[in-house]
Structure formats: C-alpha cells, structure tokens
Amino acid sequence: MDLKLKIWRQVDANAEGKFVTYPVHNISQDASFLEMMDVLNEELVTTGKEPVAFDHDCREGICGMCSLFINGRPHGPDDSVTTCQLHMRKFKDGETVVIEPWRAKPFPVIKDLKVDRSPFDEIIRSGGYVSVNTGGVPDANTIPINKENADLAMDAAACIGCGACVAACKNASAMLFVSAKVSQLALLPQGKVEAKRRVESMVAKMDDLGFGNCTNTYACEAECPKDISVSNIARMNREFLHAKIT
C-alpha cells in the first residue's frame, strides 16, 4: 500500500516544530507501524535527509518506550495495543496518516517524535514502591494473598508507563498512571504499611509536576494499551480520602 505521512519534525526541545509530508510506497499490510517508519527512514537516509527520531525498543508492547500520536489517537487506530504492535492492515491504501508526539506540557518534545517522560519516574520516586531493603524478608508463603486481590493487583501492575493516558487526556492528567501503582500496592498486604504516605506524596508530586486534573472522561482507559481500568482511579480517590481523614 501507498501512504502519505504528515509527520511532526522538531530539531530539539527549544526549536519550533512543523509538519512535513512524506510519501511512502509498497508498504506490506503485515508490516508493523514502526517497520513502516523504518522503511521511511531508510529512504530518508539514502537520499541524504535526516531520519525521523522516534522512541521504540522492545517492539512487543511491553517496554513502554514507543509513543506516537497517530491520526489523533495515542498508539493509533487499534485497541489494546502499543504503536509497535499496530499493524498496517489497520490503514487504507492511499490514506494520509498524521503522526505527532505526545502533546502534554509535562512531556516536552526532545526531538521530532521523542518526548521526555521523566516526570513519570519522579512520581514513582515519590513513593511508588514498598520500602524494603534487600535481605531479611520473610518466606514468600508467610504472606497469603487472596487470589482475587492478587489478580486485581496484577491488572493494575500491568501498566507500562508509556504515557498514552496523559496524551489522551484533555487535561494531561496522570491519574490513570498514578492510580495503577497506588492500586497495585493498596490491594496487597505488603503495601498497606505505607499506604497513607504513598498516596499523599504521589498525588502531591503529580500536581507539582503540572499534570492536570481528572474530569472523568475516561479517555485514558479507552486509549490505554494495557486496558488499565478507571476503577483504579476510584480506588486511589478512596485511598486519598482515607489518608486525609486518618
């Protein structure tokens, strides 16, 4: 198939960006979206032009590195996938495809389609873990955990930290990301000890970093490649309220 790609190009964080249009030809329907981008970049390099910079790594939907906003949707026109798992069979021959970086104030563009998502790391650092050191812990089976909670914790822990939830949200809210970690640890006995401190400091850090508020549009859940549920946000709100009144 042949496509017309309208791609955001930006030299670095301080430069002004703009859309540039590139045609690509003879793309296989079975190719992944990023393989299509590889074909474009090979052509650009061969003709002496600078290739398009985009983040990617594992190409199997788990590292959370890829991050394209395609035709108005984070990770493009398929459900429950990251951009690297999106395949060209989802597009029509001759289509124009608009490719942008994540657009959110806390995620500034570094170059072309790459953005800086280090605020997510900062949020985790503010308390998204159980504070145990290596060694001196009890035998694993001394902490029985009911299967339902273990499964719900796993559902929340499946978050890959890609930032699609922020990119999808009109307020650039990070509630889904933060609540996934808060929920995982709130559902497990290991996380209970620090529950109050965790939710308070993670929410405060999220606000500090300039992420917006949640207005319950559920766009985050709709675009999450790992189907993280907004029920985690509800759970985090309960945790937060509980922390504030105790």
Binding site: C63, Y129, T134, M154, A158, G161, Q190
Partner: protein
C-alpha cells in the same frame, strides 16, 4: 599464557558460598560513603545491584540508554522465574535445581556458580514478594507454580505472561527508593563508550549523552557492567531494538576476556519470519509448552498443501499429525530444553514437513488443552500471549494452531568472570546476561530472571565489597586526568571517523548483512567450512562498512544513526569472534551444534576429553587473531553423562 583464576572457594559444594561470605573482606559503614560505584544498565541485574549497593551505603551512579530505568529489556521476559522452594511438594531441592541447570547447560558451566545460583533462588522469591510483585496465587492464597523445559518438577513462579516486567518493576521500585534517598544518581539516555582504566584497574567510564551528543566522564572505585546480551548480532532476534553488545565489547577491547562467545540460545517458540522489512522477532513464552502440543504433518504432501494455502491444519486428522517431540523424547515430551526443541523443529522443516507459506514453521496446538480444561482456563493462563499472536499474525490461536519457529533469544556467552563476578580487569564486575557465567552451553527457561536477580541482589553486594575493602584509601579519580583525556580522544576519534565516511549504504543494511551471515553460518547448525566462510565474509563486511556506511548529521545533538553505527561496527567484530570460538570447539554441546559432531540420532555429541573447559578470549587488536585461554571445568558433584530427555 595467563592462567585464569576462577577463585572458587574451598570446601564442599554446599558450603562454598557460606564459607566465602564468612571469610570475605567487608567495608565498614563509614567507609562505604567514601566509595563510588558505577553501574551500567538497569535491567534485573543492574537495577537490583544498584539498589542493593546503595542500601548498603555506597554511592552509586547508574546509567541506561533508555529514557527510564524501567524500560530495560528484562521487562520483556514472559514466562517465569525458577526457585527451589519445593512448594508443590513434588521433589524439588537446591541440589535438583543445580543438577538440572548443569545438565541443561550440557556440562559447560561451573559447578560452584550454579550451586550458588540455586541456593539463593529462594531468597529472590521472598524478596520480590516483599516488594509487592504480584505473582500468581492459588485460591488458598499461596504462590502458584508451573513447569518449564528441562525439569521434571514445577518450580517456576510467574506473574501472568509478564514475569520479567513485574520483577523489573520491583527492582525499579527499589532503585527509585534509593534515588529518592539520594545515594543513587540516575543518568538516563546515556551510552557507555569506554571503560577508563588507571593502573590496570577499572576506575570510570566515558559515556555519550544521547540527547546532547556530548561525551561525559564519570569516575568510580569500581564499575559493574550489566548491559545485557548480544543476540542482536543476528539482526533478527527477540531482543529489543536497542539491545547491544557495545559496553561489553569496549570492556573486551580494554582487556576483559570474553567467555564462550559462540554459545547463543535459539528459542523454539517464536512467531516465524514473515517479510524482508521485518525488524524483530516476537517470542511466544515457553510456558505455552505446558499446554500446547507441537506437531507437523506426517505426510509431506499435506505440508506442501498447507504451504500453498490449499489445506488448513484443523482439517488434518489426528493420525496424520506427527507430534515429533513427544515421539522422540517420551519422558520430557514438549518440555525438552530449548536447544533440543529448536533443533528438532529445524530438522522437520529441513526435511520438508514445515508449515506456513515459507515452510519454516511448526504448529503449537492448544486444541487438546482447550477440550480438557475449557477455553476460559487457557485464556486465564495465556490470554495476553494469544492476543499478541493474534495482533501480529492476524489469526485466532484459539481456533487455528499457532505457527512457531526458532529464533535467537539469549546469549549464554559474555564477559568472562570469576566466582566473584569480576572480569580479568580488576574492579570491573559483570552481572546478568552480560557475563558468561551460569548457563553453560544452554540456558533453561525461567533461569535468566533467576540469574539476573541472584547476581544483583545477593551476589555482587557481597563480592564487590571483597574487592572494595582495600580501595577505601584510593582517592576519587579526577575526571581531568590523562586517563580520561586519552579515552575521550579515542572515542571522539572513532565517532569522527564514522561520520567522515559519508558512503552510500545505510547502517541498517549492514546490520541485516551481519545478521544473515551469523544466522546462516553461526546459527542453529555450524560446520567448519561454514564458520571459515563466516570469518572471511565478516572481514570483508567490516571493510565495506568502514568504507561505505552513510551516517547523516554530526556528533553534536541527538543522532540515532550514529548510535546504531557504533553498535553495528561492534557487532561485526563480535560476530567474527563468535565464529572463531565456534570453529575452535570441535564438539557439539547445548546450543552449539557442529554438524560434524552428532550421534546417529542427530543429537549433540560432546567431547568431554578435549573440550571440558571454558573458552576465554583475549583481544589483541582488531586485525590480530585473539588468544584463547582455557579454564578447565571439573565436576565433582555431578556425574557427567550424555544428556538424555528420552527417559527420566
């Protein structure tokens, strides 16, 4: 010839590690604050080591090429992590895990290292549970286990099909905690370009800031490399796109010996190659072999019809299916080790029984399991893997059997290290997949996660102190010192040289070429002629690369093509070393299959008399032949025999 000192502690096998810890040197808490440690890589080994060393009180500087330490490729490990807990009461023990690992590695790993690995495996599970890793549970609230290849017990702990992700996020949490505390300083989007030595000891690294393009200098009292494996030398592999060998290769060039470079693992269950634009291969977890049955048609004409698209596998009756693993290996069946399963698939396809439009695929069929357990059970166990398959292949594996084929997955080889995980450069330690240590000639499933976390949480925090104890009075290395000057000049010179070529071929085109040479001649089947040809082909490819590669832009600012070019130039050199190593080993063992050395039944034929040693290669210059050093292996606690998976 240098004698390799493996530093295996004295005493009976089961007491070696305890003895080592009892007598090793330690650094007192006040002195730990004076010591800096550099960690390169934030996967399971690097992340866990950095966090644990920081908890002890050392100052740790951590580097990764990704935008966050949470993205290291350990995250992609699917199936699980082994431990000798014996929770299922099915006869497991530390000795049995040790035995299975040595046997699975075809008797080419060090007994003492493997025993220690089995010994600390249980601590890992305890640690991860304490961190809140959501392992699968049974209804009674206890941890669940499943089976992996090469074992007769269920010892694999798992978190759905995302065990690597959950363990890595556990280590990332621990690392985040230490970053917040202030004793870990994290440097992301940085690539190590050189190890800096002073008086023969590793004292720092030179890195390229991948955003600004600037070269940066960092000094320390010791350096830990945990930069992963080199499967991407094959271009198509299950590794992440940015996984590379360059940090390890730079260490090799500075004097660290390279152990068993030709020992690579070819994983039997990957989604087959489908087109020439393809950039990577996707693994389907080995755990699928718990419930899936592997087969090809019994009749060649059926296979041909399938290849032409004239016949569907669901229409082939039971009696016309060849469940070749169950037929050849009745005791282990579909759960034979990876090297055995991969070769058996290749054998069937080479004979013309392969399926898919290329004929290079076999079926992994869940029909029986779905009939036995119901679709919902299979969905709960493997749902995310089935979804991944469906998205890539556009076929529903609940209805049509999956197609799979072997692909490069893991490298058992790596920087040679002694029992303390120290390389031949004093002060340079190596952990995880980047070292050669524990898996011999073949790694068992669910053992990579075990090794990474064993090295990081429970081995390196001890052994590095044994080295650092007499470094407490060594002053911080000035980054303006001549050693750093020299290193930066060398690195910048190399970058300038690459950028000046301005040829006509892309970096990726060279990467594909080196990959094809490696797959054809240094892959699943190797021969003397093929390996000699590979060495010649790689030499001319190296020449071609340094004359004709085209890298747009310059070394200031972000330049992705330049990053790739450095890695590919290292892959070409590494490929040559791998071929040399394979050529020098006139036997077949584990993943190293020399076609000249096989039994009548086509099984690997070892030569214990002449090759029961670790090959450790010393760099002598890019156009010089490397020198082979041998570390003899001795087995005092295991009877060495022909691997047999036909009977228990």
């Amino acid at each position: 010839m240098t004698k390799l000192d493996s530093k295996i502690p004295e005493g009976p096998l089961a007491e070696k590690w305890t003895n080592f810890k009892a007598h090793q040197n330690l650094v007192n808490p006040a002195n730990k604050r004076k010591i800096d440690i550099i960690v390169v890589g934030t996967g399971l080994a690097g992340g866990s080591a950095a966090a644990s060393l920081s908890e002890l009180g050392f100052n740790v500087k951590v580097f990764c090429i990704q935008d966050s330490p949470r993205r290291a490729h350990s995250i992609a490990a699917q199936g699980g992590i082994n431990a000798a807990k014996n929770y299922p009461n099915d006869g497991d023990s530390v000795y049995r895990l040790f035995y299975d690992t040595v046997k699975g590695g075809d008797y080419r790993a060090r007994e003492a290292n493997v025993y220690r690995l089995a010994e600390v495996s249980n601590n890992i599970i305890d640690q991860c549970v304490a961190q809140g890793v959501p392992f699968a549970r049974e209804y009674g609230g206890m941890l669940d286990n499943r089976s992996f290849g090469g074992a007769l017990v269920s010892r694999t702990f798992y978190a759905r099909g995302q065990t690597g992700q959950q363990l890595l996020l556990g280590a990332y949490g621990a690392l985040s905690k230490e970053i917040k505390k202030g004793s870990v300083k994290m440097y992301t989007r940085r690539e190590m370009m050189d190890v800096v030595l002073k008086d023969g000891k590793a004292r720092g690294i030179l890195v390229r800031n991948l955003v600004t393009g600037k070269l940066e200098r960092y000094g320390a009292h010791a350096v830990l490399l945990a930069s992963g494996g080199y499967g991407n030398v094959f271009f198509l592999s299950t590794n992440a796109m940015n996984s590379n060998a360059s940090a390890a290769w730079k260490a090799y060039k500075r004097g660290a010996f390279f152990g068993h470079p030709s020992f690579v693992q070819i994983h039997p269950t990957c989604i087959p190659v489908h087109g020439n634009y393809q950039s990577k291969l996707t693994l389907m977890s080995e755990s699928l072999r718990n419930d899936g049955r592997i087969w090809v048609p019994k009749k060649k004409e059926d296979a041909q019809k399938i290849q032409k698209g004239e016949l569907s596998p669901v229409n082939i009756p039971e009696e016309d299916r060849d469940y070749y693993l169950e037929r050849r290996y009745p005791a282990f069946g579909n759960l034979v080790p990876r090297d055995v399963a991969s070769r058996a698939a290749k054998e069937r396809c080479d004979e013309g029984y392969g399926v898919g439009n290329t004929g290079l695929a076999v079926y992994l069929d869940f029909k029986d399991a779905i009939n036995r357990l119901g679709k919902s059970v299979i969905e709960a166990r493997y749902g995310n893997l089935f979804q991944m398959y469906d998205k890539i292949v556009d076929e529903n594996p609940y209805e049509t059997p999956m197609m799979i084929y072997p692909a490069i997955h893991y490298t058992m080889g790596g920087i040679w290290v002694d029992y303390e995980l120290q390389s031949t450069i004093p002060g340079l330690f190596v952990g995880g997949e980047a070292n050669f240590s524990d898996h011999g000639a073949n790694r068992l499933g669910a053992s990579a996660l075990m090794q990474g976390l064993s090295d990081g949480y429970f081995v390196l925090p001890y052994t590095m102190q044994n080295y650092l104890a007499d470094q407490i009075n060594v002053p911080h290395l000035d980054t303006d010192s001549p050693e750093f000057e020299k290193s930066e000049k060398y690195v910048q010179g190399n970058l300038d040289k690459l950028l000046a070529i301005k040829g006509s071929k892309t970096v990726d085109s060279f990467h594909r070429k080196v990959g094809l040479i490696m797959w054809d001649y240094v892959g699943m089947g190797r021969s003397k002629e093929g390996l000699e040809k590979a060495i010649e082909d790689l030499k001319s490819l190296r020449k071609d690369f340094w004359s004709n590669v085209n890298i747009p832009g310059d070394s200031t600012g972000m330049n992705v093509e330049l990053e790739k070019a450095v890695r590919v130039s290292d892959f070409i050199e590494l490929g040559e070393l791998m071929a040399r190593d394979a050529l020098s080993r006139n036997e077949s063992c584990g993943g190293h299959f020399r076609e000249e050395y096989q039994t009548e039944e086509g099984e690997a034929m070892r030569d214990d008399e002449n090759f029961m040693f670790v090959s450790a290669w010393e760099y002598k210059g890019v156009d010089e032949e490397p020198v082979l050093h041998k570390e003899p292996l001795s087995y005092e606690n295991i009877e060495v025999k022909q691997r047999n998976y036909k009977t228990a």
